[in-house]
């Protein structure tokens, strides 16, 4: 395996153009968390002309609903959730400048097209590797929708958070190319 690429948000177009489907990356810096209900609320806010809890331009959203932190810890186990549940909301956020989403599983065609149009990437973390990923999260702070508990929006500070480029901004798709290689008819 090739050495992972080191990345730090916020991302520029050039950062995104340098990523190809299949690349391993290690992210250090800030990630924002949001999942189902948080996305729904953000969309409602935008529809009413309001401001989002954080400026998405250049940033990365990690789809995660962590377990509660044990005493003395910043966060509980924190692996990725299924990204397709956020598909309905993602193109609008990409139009606002969001550069990366991190989750697991497939994205729909509209999201893939929007990523190419907006120069953005979709990354995967290893689903279920929640105790391992937790170790890369150094700080966590709820910045919005505290009432949602695990679904609240958090600002994470991570060090060497491991991820894999699934969909790059040129249309590269690791799901398609990877499965093609190992499928036996």
């Amino acid at each position: 395996m090739a050495e992972p690429k080191k990345l730090t948000p916020p991302f520029t177009d050039a950062d995104i153009e340098g990523l190809k489907a299949g690349d391993l990356v290690l992210i250090t810096g800030v990630l924002y968390t949001a999942r189902d209900t948080a996305h729904k609320r953000m969309m409602a806010t935008l529809a009413e002309g309001g401001e989002l809890p954080f400026d998405v331009a250049g940033q990365a959203i990690y789809y995660v609903g962590p377990t509660p932190p044990m005493p003395g810890e910043v966060i509980g186990s924190a692996g990725p959730t299924t990204s397709s549940r956020m598909d309905a909301f993602t193109p609008q956020l990409l139009d606002l400048g969001l550069k990366a989403t991190i989750g697991k599983g497939l994205r729909c065609e509209e999201v893939l097209e929007s990523m190419q149009k907006n120069k953005a990437v979709y990354l995967a973390a290893v689903g279920g590797a929640a105790a391992l990923i937790k170790k890369t999260i150094k700080k966590a702070e709820v910045i919005a929708y505290e009432d949602l508990g695990p679904e609240a929006i958090r600002r994470l500070e991570v060090e060497d958070f491991p991820a894999i480029v699934v969909n790059d901004c040129m249309g590269g798709d690791l799901f398609k190319s990877g499965v093609e290689k190992y499928r036996k008819d």
Partner: protein
């Protein structure tokens, strides 16, 4: 009659919840390590290594291996000579409440419309059978939402037969792709009726990996399906590879002459289940 207190049941259920979240069974650990030896994709091996490291950390540090600590599913075999001092379901839910709170486990249940969290990970889903004897066997599986969402049920026509069953199972897994966190375990329930097939599929997932159904016909079907599933090439997390399923378990029951119900229940690699006999 043997008297058993609700408090005892709650305490045992609490322990099951705590252990299941952090401690992956030896059968799954073994299957994942074997898969690592056989996986042809370098990225697939990297992912399997992360998965193995993860369950080792979870066990050593007593941390939940996955943030989705699941909806608590129970299969209970209640001896008919047992007398409880309260309701079984209430005692189990009390154990879940305590376990999820004390273990810092994620409460993942909500109202289906308002999506408001129920706050204590109850109510559980409990399947109880009355059996001979004086003991209570409780099997607990915290079931994650990601793999549950990729599960499916279909009422086939009897004329669809074995080929129709295989086709439906393979299509279901193909559609799920990387979503249910492969390598997966596949539970297939055939026959019964609409709900019975789903319960059979769930029950199939409680079986220890590496053990085929004792019925030779079903064992052969398990073998065929495992080959077909792994030939899909989905691989670890869906990025391609030869390890898509660690096992396929089939359970069957007689069904109506007009029907052929088939349920496919998918389980992620964090296949947590624990049991205890009181």
């Amino acid at each position: 009659m043997r008297q058993v207190s609700s408090k005892l049941i709650s305490a045992k259920v609490k322990d099951l919840c705590l252990k299941a979240a952090t401690d992956l069974g030896p059968d799954i650990q073994y299957a994942l390590k074997e898969a690592l030896k056989k996986e042809e994709s370098p990225l697939g091996r990297d992912i399997l290594t992360q998965i193995i490291t993860n369950f080792e950390i979870a066990d050593k540090e007593k941390k939940p291996m996955c943030q989705d600590t699941g909806l608590a599913v129970f299969f209970v075999e209640l001896g008919r000579e047992v007398e409880l001092d309260g309701l079984l379901d209430e005692a189990i839910d009390e154990g879940v409440r305590q376990g999820y709170e004390e273990g810092f486990l994620r409460k993942s249940l909500c109202d289906p419309f308002s999506r408001k969290n129920t706050g204590d990970n109850t109510p559980s889903v409990i399947h109880t059978t009355i059996v001979e004897g004086k003991s209570i066997k409780i099997s607990m599986a915290p079931k994650g939402g990601g793999s549950e969402n990729m599960s499916a049920l279909k009422m086939l026509k009897p004329s669809d037969g074995l080929e129709g069953i295989k086709k439906f199972v393979i299509e279901t897994i193909k559609t799920g792709g990387g979503n249910p966190c492969p390598p997966i375990i596949v539970g297939v329930g055939i026959g019964g009726n609409f709900e019975k097939s789903a319960i059979l599929a769930k029950k199939a997932l409680m079986r220890e990996l590496g053990h085929n159904n004792p019925d030779p016909v079903l064992a052969a079907l398990e073998g065929d399906l495992a080959i077909s599933v792994n030939n899909l090439g989905i691989g670890p997390m869906g990025f391609g590879g030869v390890t898509t399923a660690l096992g396929v378990h089939v359970e069957a029951a007689p069904c109506h002459i007009a029907s052929l119900p088939v349920s496919v229940n998918i389980q992620c690699h964090a296949a947590r289940h624990k049991e205890i006999t009181i």
